[in-house]
């Protein structure tokens, strides 16, 4: 079989057939590259320029952009509100993403190892994927109803069990925690599915060999499962982290950044500066700080993953 294939390839390689002058590949990718440039890259480069300008279309004095050097950046780094939103992100993003990936890992392995019935496994995987398909804004609305301070379902159930009501959504850390719970409810499925797929592709012979050698359950997990799943766990982390700093919809609907400005996250703060205060230069500076900050964080994470692998 393989000899026939190779023979064929030697005689009629596709690349030879369509010589280097062939324009087809460029015609195929061209429209996509041009579109992405027009609707993403181009506008973002313009916003990079705007971030060095004072531009507040709603005020008479700054109706058109005028260059002001790094003043927007200086302004935002001096804002307590900005650092407050960064601290909120550290909590929401840090704890939330770890929770989601950890829970996803545990559930995926439990499902794969301990649920023998394939039908039940598939049903569970599908159920865990359902929340991911629902609009984040709608999920926020649903959890807002569940977390309502008076008459909310969570407090209602806590009350039936004899606990006192918790003022969800009414203080900084409880508000962020409530949002984190809603987000975890929606997104555990992603790390779970990635890790489940990875676990399913680890060969059983590895575990059999380990059992023959008398390796304990913990040793099997530590020496086979974790190393084999390492990259997928890292990817799950990255994907969830990418969503975490973009996070907007649930915050918008559940706390609106409140009480006051206490639960604001960086993107929400940017939104208010841009579309409520109409201070476009400052908002542009914020988007670049968030964007570059996240890219740097991801690169550092990726590098630490790779060096660990070498060690």
């Amino acid at each position: 079989m393989s000899t026939i294939k190779e023979d064929l390839r030697r005689r009629l390689p596709v690349v030879d057939r369509f010589a280097d002058r062939d324009l087809a590949p460029y015609l195929l990718v061209g429209p996509t590259i041009v579109t992405v440039f027009l609707i993403t890259i181009g506008p973002m480069l313009w916003s990079l320029w705007l971030s060095f300008n004072r531009w507040a279309p709603a005020s008479i004095a700054h109706q058109t952009p005028s260059f002001n050097g790094g003043a927007n950046y200086a302004w935002l780094f001096s804002q307590g509100r900005f650092w407050n939103s960064v601290a909120n992100f550290a909590y929401y993003g840090g704890v939330g993403v770890m929770l989601q990936v950890g829970l996803g890992l545990f559930l995926a392995l439990a499902l794969y190892n301990y649920v023998d019935n394939k039908g039940i496994r598939i049903a569970m995987l599908t159920l865990f994927a359902v929340p991911m398909m629902i609009a984040p804004l709608v999920v926020g609305r649903i959890w807002q109803l569940l977390f309502l301070p008076g008459g909310g379902t969570v407090n209602g159930i806590l009350g039936m069990l004899g606990f006192s009501a918790v003022p969800w959504l009414q203080s900084r850390w409880l508000g962020l925690t409530a949002i984190m719970i809603a987000d975890t409810w929606q997104w555990v499925g992603l790390p779970l599915l990635i890790i489940y797929g990875g676990r399913a592709s680890i060969s059983d012979t590895l575990y059999e060999a380990a059992r023959v050698d008398g390796a304990s359950r913990w040793m099997q997990f530590r020496r086979i499962t974790l190393p084999q799943l390492r990259n997928l766990i890292a990817i799950a982390f990255l994907l969830r982290f990418m969503d975490a700093y973009k996070f907007f919809d649930k915050l918008f609907i559940m706390t609106n950044g409140g009480p006051g400005t206490q639960t604001e996250l960086p993107t929400y703060f940017t939104y208010l500066v841009g579309f409520s205060q109409f201070n476009i230069g400052r908002a542009a500076a914020l988007t670049w700080v968030i964007g570059l900050g996240s890219v740097i964080a991801m690169l550092l994470f990726w590098r630490s993953m790779n060096t660990e692998e070498m060690a």
């Binding site: 460029y26 579109t35 991911m132 609009a135 984040p136 804004l137 569940l146 542009a284």
Partner: protein
């Protein structure tokens, strides 16, 4: 399995079952709230079943002109952007899969394409808002259709490349040997094989557009409100209409859920960017 595993086994099973309950409960509660009259919502103790069962809220969503308008707009926007992004993305994905050595030797272009998704959406919509103002695209369906390409086009390109990669090149080579033209080869050999992947990609692009909120909130006005932009504003005479909001949530959530169930394997593969095959 030896006997010491059974403790683990029951703990693992119990945890999965408990978590399944945790996932299912808010879904149930949404339905439960949508089917109750307003005066049974927010009572203590909560009514765990739809007491005073009524379809009024669901009927309201399907007849109220504002809600129907929003649903229609969302259908048009999601479908329009899906068609555009899948056509463009499939062409580009095919090229990235088959001619990678020529157009993208280091894999930089395709990665760079995907990395545009790493910037927060607010970074894109801020300049776009003013560009659209100049072009007269604010508050138009076309404006949102084009804007949604920012996240859907990299996704469809990436996924289609992945789905094309799974089709052996030798199939195409064999077709060329048989004298098929390039177009015939694509139509008769590649397309039938890639169709399930193409459908899943379409469905995912559609769901992401259907669910989007931030862009719609900023770009649209009264003419083009979408399902997500009217949900924050369903408040009448200072009272939040929870039953109508949850009825809206049910209506909004049904199409994506049906899509998930109907195309489960490919959707899951797509959601995980091609990493999971169940």
């Amino acid at each position: 399995m030896s006997s010491d595993t059974s403790g683990f086994q029951w703990f693992g099973r119990g945890f999965v079952a408990l978590y399944a309950l945790f996932v299912a409960f808010p879904l149930y509660w949404t339905l439960n709230t949508a089917l109750k009259p307003l005066n049974y919502i927010g009572t203590f103790p909560p009514t765990l079943y739809p007491r005073g069962f009524t379809l009024d809220s669901i009927v309201w969503v399907l007849t109220n002109s504002r809600a129907v308008n929003a649903i229609t707009n969302s259908l048009i926007i999601a479908s329009g952007t899906t068609i555009l992004s899948v056509i463009l993305g499939a062409l580009a994905g095919y090229a990235f899969s088959r001619f990678a050595s020529r157009i993208d030797p280091g894999g930089h272009v395709s990665f760079w394409l995907l990395s545009t998704r790493m910037f927060p959406p607010i970074a894109v919509v801020l300049p776009i808002f003013f560009i659209y103002g100049q072009l007269g695209l604010q508050d138009t369906l076309l404006g949102l259709i084009l804007l949604y390409l920012t996240f859907n086009l990299p996704l469809t390109t990436w996924l289609m490349r992945d789905f094309f990669d799974k089709i052996p090149v030798s199939f195409e080579e064999a077709a060329y040997v048989d004298g098929y033209s390039r177009f015939e080869t694509f139509r008769k050999v590649v397309f039938p094989l890639v169709r399930p992947g193409l459908v899943a990609t379409m469905m995912l692009a559609w769901v992401f557009a259907w669910n989007e909120f931030l862009f719609a909130w900023i770009i649209t006005g009264n003419n083009t409100s979408t399902i997500t932009t009217i949900i924050p504003t369903l408040i009448e005479s200072n009272q939040i209409q929870w039953n109508r909001i949850m009825a809206m949530a049910v209506v909004v959530a049904i199409p994506p859920t049906l899509i998930l169930i109907a195309f489960r394997d490919n959707i899951i593969e797509g959601m995980t960017l091609g990493m999971t095959d169940i």
